[in-house]
Symmetry: C2
Subunit: 434 residues, 2 copies
């Protein structure tokens, strides 16, 4: 499919080509009220201003709902359902198309361009959704296998349930923050010497601070408590995807996680990218995930075998001390055993009600080779194999380190569907005074 050309300047290589149209929440120096926008090239189009100035006059479907664009989260827009998301995205594409059928809406409307188009570098990006519940899955098979090998050896690396259900657990919604939010090194309870016979923990600054490279999917359509979502309908219950960094305190995790799973090791912060890429925009990049050699139960069986996305993922690390930068890992959204619709169908399989704005994380996404590991635990084999960033050595993160994930679909520089970046910088631990 040739790239859609625009009358508007969209730089080559932009993640936010006309093929994308991701949604987010912005505020600006002109108005501090968070509101809905889409990203297009180097700009954000303020949909509140756009709607208020008859931008949607040619789209009768959305007119009764225009108030959703003035809200401080995408929840109300998302709740309108996927058919509405589709027409709004297509309409915005047509407004920006070189041969737009609506030239008076924006192309020839310099006043509205001035009022509604803001350079991205001048807008503040907020959390896109008011998140009710956050669930993190563990469906990056390579990551699960590599961690399993470390803890249990290759013969028992994956638990017996792993290929029958998308393993997941409930995470912490309150500490999900937008890209750019500083992350303080946490204190935590852990064993200073895990190998010692005597298991006596301490409470102090954690040492093994890690990131986890994940994708996240936002729910748009809720389901009633008690009513599982059939697998054939599950995709339509999803709004779109973001990148997710599930910061992890490995020393806390290994001490606390038996028997109820990770808790304080994960709940101190998770960062997400701020532009949500719609399910529709990702459709052309569907690929087969990791093959499952077990018979999948019918409530999880999808018709199409292309169920995950070819998203090129990259982890960069920049140190504060020397300013050195290194690409630590390259991975891909295809390295998943289960798709998000499968995760959603499973999540609701006992009747759990998902709500608009709930976030599902994929779990860490790793490839199979060196340089493709989605977290440092894997990349450094539990902290035993340091790597280089310029002249510096790292096993886990040090204060001042800045971690940046980048994710993008496609190779045509004029038609990329990208996520932008999610970054987070490690600040020194707070002085707790006790």
């Amino acid at each position: 499919m040739p790239a859609l050309r625009s009358w508007f300047t969209i730089p080559r290589g932009s993640h936010f080509s006309l093929a994308n149209i991701p949604f987010g929440i912005i505020s600006t120096t002109t108005s501090s009220s968070p509101r809905v926008a889409v990203a297009i090239g180097d700009h954000a189009l303020d949909l509140e201003a756009f709607a208020a100035n008859n931008g949607f006059s040619a789209l009768s479907t959305i007119q009764p709902h225009q108030a959703v664009f003035s809200e401080p989260s995408l929840n109300s827009f998302a709740a309108l359902g996927r058919p509405i998301h589709s027409v709004v995205r297509k309409y915005i594409q047509s407004v920006f198309a070189e041969d737009t059928p609506y030239p008076d809406v924006l192309k020839n409307n310099i006043a509205l361009q001035k009022q509604a188009l803001f350079p991205l570098k001048h807008v503040l990006k907020h959390l896109p959704f008011k998140i009710g519940d956050y669930t993190d899955f563990f469906v990056g098979l390579n990551h699960a296998y590599n961690c399993g090998v470390m803890f249990r050896g290759p013969a028992n690396a994956l638990n017996p349930n792993y290929k029958y259900l998308p393993v997941g657990y409930h995470g912490r919604a309150s500490s999900i923050v937008p890209s750019g939010t500083l992350i303080h090194r946490p204190h935590g309870q852990f064993l200073p010497n895990p190998a010692a016979d005597e298991k006596v923990p301490v409470y102090t600054q954690i040492k093994k601070l890690d990131y986890e490279l994940e994708l996240g999917a936002f729910v748009c359509k809720p389901n009633k408590m008690g009513e599982p979502v059939p697998i054939g309908q599950a995709e339509d219950n999803l709004f779109g995807l973001v990148m997710l960094n599930d910061w992890s305190a490995r020393d806390v995790q290994s001490w606390e996680y038996i028997p109820l799973g990770p808790f304080n090791a994960k709940n101190f912060g998770s960062s997400i990218s701020t532009w949500v890429v719609l399910i529709d925009a990702l459709e052309p990049f569907k690929v087969r995930g990791i093959e499952n050699d077990k018979e999948v139960l019918s409530y999880l069986k999808e018709k199409d075998d292309r169920t995950v996305y070819d998203i090129q993922l990259k982890v960069d690390l920049k140190t504060a001390t020397s300013g050195s930068t290194a690409t630590v890992a390259n991975s891909n959204g295809r390295h998943l055993l289960w798709s998000f619709p499968q995760c959603l169908a499973h999540h609701t399989s006992t009747g759990c009600n998902l709500q608009t704005g709930d976030l599902l994380g994929s779990g860490t996404i790793s490839g199979t080779a060196a340089g493709e590991y989605g977290c440092l635990l894997e990349g450094t084999e539990g902290g035993t194999k340091p790597f280089k960033v310029g002249d510096e050595e790292r096993t886990f993160l040090q204060d001042g380190d800045e971690v940046t994930f980048t994710g993008v679909c496609g190779t045509d520089e004029e038609a990329l569907v990208g996520f932008g970046q999610v970054t987070g910088k490690i600040e020194p631990a707070l002085n707790l005074g006790y």
Copy 2:
């Protein structure tokens, strides 16, 4: 302390004596808008109507905040902080006192009595809080020990971390429902024959449906992300307590829970009692919890050694088939190794931000003897030892069974501080059509 006497008829043995004054959310036939109320004897006092009719005219502290009583949840009232909860509770006690200094407020104001006092049996009780995140702990040591013995034998029943930190995990907030909500038997993925060598699961109606007898604590004061709450301040961050039934699908749980903990086995529903008993009201019933023979780290060490509550807890089961009723268990809120303030301090110890309305569960509360087990898994030794309800036999719950928890503090029938009940009836599984 002698019972406070009231001019208002409070039946002997009422859970809602003048010593209590628990808060909740009600609606009535006269107004379907959910709003704040307190329970007193057999009645609810509608605080919206009370405030609108100058009920708080003698309490200047609350006047600027009276709008909180018109809200459909306790979140805004709770966010005012414990000192305000205290004065409001004491003021309401004084309004109802036999020798009330404010006779014109309600005692002699028949019009307001008619407008604001509703028989409890005629009001609809709603979820008291808008719950952001729900965390379930596992600090009922006897329960943890009994389950540990079943799975690992007595020598390794408790994991090495158990006595050093309040073990907990993130639960599902969206499926927390008020007492009386019907619970459909869920479908789920589990092993039809767990003992078989070949681990091939099915997806069908679950068989091992269980309850869990817990207490829940609501957070009133939020803490900022990154900033742990010192143990000395933790109690003031709590609003009050409810009873909690954490329904559990044991067949799903045993198949899914390794390595990330319980997920679908728990997220299909949790029921709570609807009147929240304030921390202040529970103060006279503080007792020592289960003794910890390990050295508690200073961030978890409380000054007082009375940190949990002497709450008499009871589980009743009523069957639909014969209408038989049996008291299945008696337990007590004292059977906890860690207090709620300790749970809160630990929860925030890596910097996790708790918010007003978040719910913390205690985990199942069991005594040490037969008849004191807080769930059927323990009471029937994993379903191997049936018990009698009338002429019927039970191991796990059957369709039509109704489970009722009752919780009350004190023995003076005129000064009980009770929680009322939390009930839930098991409806047959839905026909999923697939």
